[in-house]
Symmetry: C2
Subunit: 341 residues, 2 copies
Amino acid sequence: MNKTLIKLKHPPVFLSTAAVGGRKESEGPLAFAFSQICEDDRFGMDTWEKSESEMQRRALHFALSKAEMKEGEIDALFAGDLMNQCTGSAYGLLEYDIPFLGLYGACSTSVEGLLLASLCMQEGFGRCAVVTSSHFCSAERQFRLPIEYGGQRTPTAQWTVTGSGAFILDNDAAGEFSCAESCVRITEVLPGRSIDGGITDANNMGAAMAPAAVDSFTRYFEESGRSPEDFDLILTGDLGYEGSGILRELLRKRDIVLGDNYNDCGLLIYDREKQDVHAGGSGCGCAASVLAGYVIPKMESGGFRRVLAVATGALMSPSSVQQGQSIPGVAHLVCLECGGE
Amino acid sequence: MNKTLIKLKHPPVFLSTAAVGGRKESEGPLAFAFSQICEDDRFGMDTWEKSESEMQRRALHFALSKAEMKEGEIDALFAGDLMNQCTGSAYGLLEYDIPFLGLYGACSTSVEGLLLASLCMQEGFGRCAVVTSSHFCSAERQFRLPIEYGGQRTPTAQWTVTGSGAFILDNDAAGEFSCAESCVRITEVLPGRSIDGGITDANNMGAAMAPAAVDSFTRYFEESGRSPEDFDLILTGDLGYEGSGILRELLRKRDIVLGDNYNDCGLLIYDREKQDVHAGGSGCGCAASVLAGYVIPKMESGGFRRVLAVATGALMSPSSVQQGQSIPGVAHLVCLECGGE
């Protein structure tokens, strides 16, 4: 098959990032990563769906403020979420007068957006924003049971993150960041193939998504010539405890050994010992908040120099599961690096 | 605000296109446009959702066959549909071993895909496929009532097209199409902004989407310096009878007069006099089949030289409508032109 890794000729620069989150996220180890926390998870709205939209609106608002930028300076918005017909994004970002490109990659959407924005900025858009979200209560109602039912959760189940992350990217056509050692760029992208490992348990997304992550990592290390030790951090978002164990094991069979520099957004965002989240966090807002609120700011302050981020998504729906179909996964990859060009 | 029209430095070329459709589509004026028709709309499957997926699989199969190409020669698939979590695409294209980028733009998804693929092919992908679909029965069940209920339809309601269109694009990096007068290229793209005109009637999508089309046309004619007479065909997909009337009227107020060269995919695909489709066709498969099965082949055989295609989408969900929210629209634009570079 074709080479699938693309080394970007003009690696775009992150101008700013921001994340907002709910109460559970504020009780976890990454509480500091959120520009704003809403204690009752409602964000001032009267339905959970509107609360999710409001998170996207606020995340982009904070990212624009940090970059001291107005909506008119952004050429395109790449956005998505888990809601039916992606209404979290459609309604949440409606007040922004920016061309809107809707995406659906389930929990991989944040990195899918970064990947597509990067490619579209090579000879096209000058500045793009990427925004994604998930909300525990809107996701439970839609995918499982309304939270009022108090449904039981299995050990492999993940907890949908109430959060939204926003990113502002610049194509640096003017070369103004060429000497900026602290600026973070997207230097390589690799789009994921959808892979069906035969999992039919909708409460085991980690297992359903791991084979797609294996495929993307394998292609990346083969095509780039790099190895896991070349990174300060290798991050999946969000395989959780179950899925990241499977990932390590399957990669080991292909002679790719992930060391202590490997982690998962679903494991970073909550404290599994104390927070009763079973296999960890998940949702379109999981990788988005962890990247926007923690990883990229830490890169900017010199904490990491090179990060490989692979966001995974499970491409099923409640109907497809009820109709007995197994759950395909997809895993999109971006390489983030500090420094000038 | 920023300029939003992008003139592509390297206009990609359509290597092939294909459409498949159902019985109602085979009884309309564009019956000849479909590579395959399935009389019972089931495409050999036992659920409507699987039938829709199967249409996508077949549409891409025919497009690949026409281009005499294997999946390994395609760098990325851009796909979407109207189903919750876009499962029409996720399952339909699963057997293809091609990196998969999921989109959600409601009925604008086909042109959103062409637009994104074009931008990603400037310095990135060499060859891309775009596939979208809709199915009357899966859409009725999800958005309105299962067809067995025999629900009444209002005069402004549109009929969801059972169809899928697939497109194969090449970035022509080698310049092998430089002398080919008959080849069709995407030369300009303009991404749509989401616009909410305040419509709350889910049976009047044309009215909900028309303001977004007005916005995209206005920006296009302003920024390009072109006027409607410069085109052999100006096509919306799919405002239907109601929406295209509103579009003409709103544009006239801005001194943009659409002449006889204006048409709508939802009006072209069915015979409104004979086929009882009320305001015309709609759905992710409508603009896709009309462009893939009729417009681009007609351009290749010299019937049109320059076409402006604006696909519109209504970005609501059944929940957002039930919760009383009005319906935002979006309209993505591509300019298609014949000739070498």
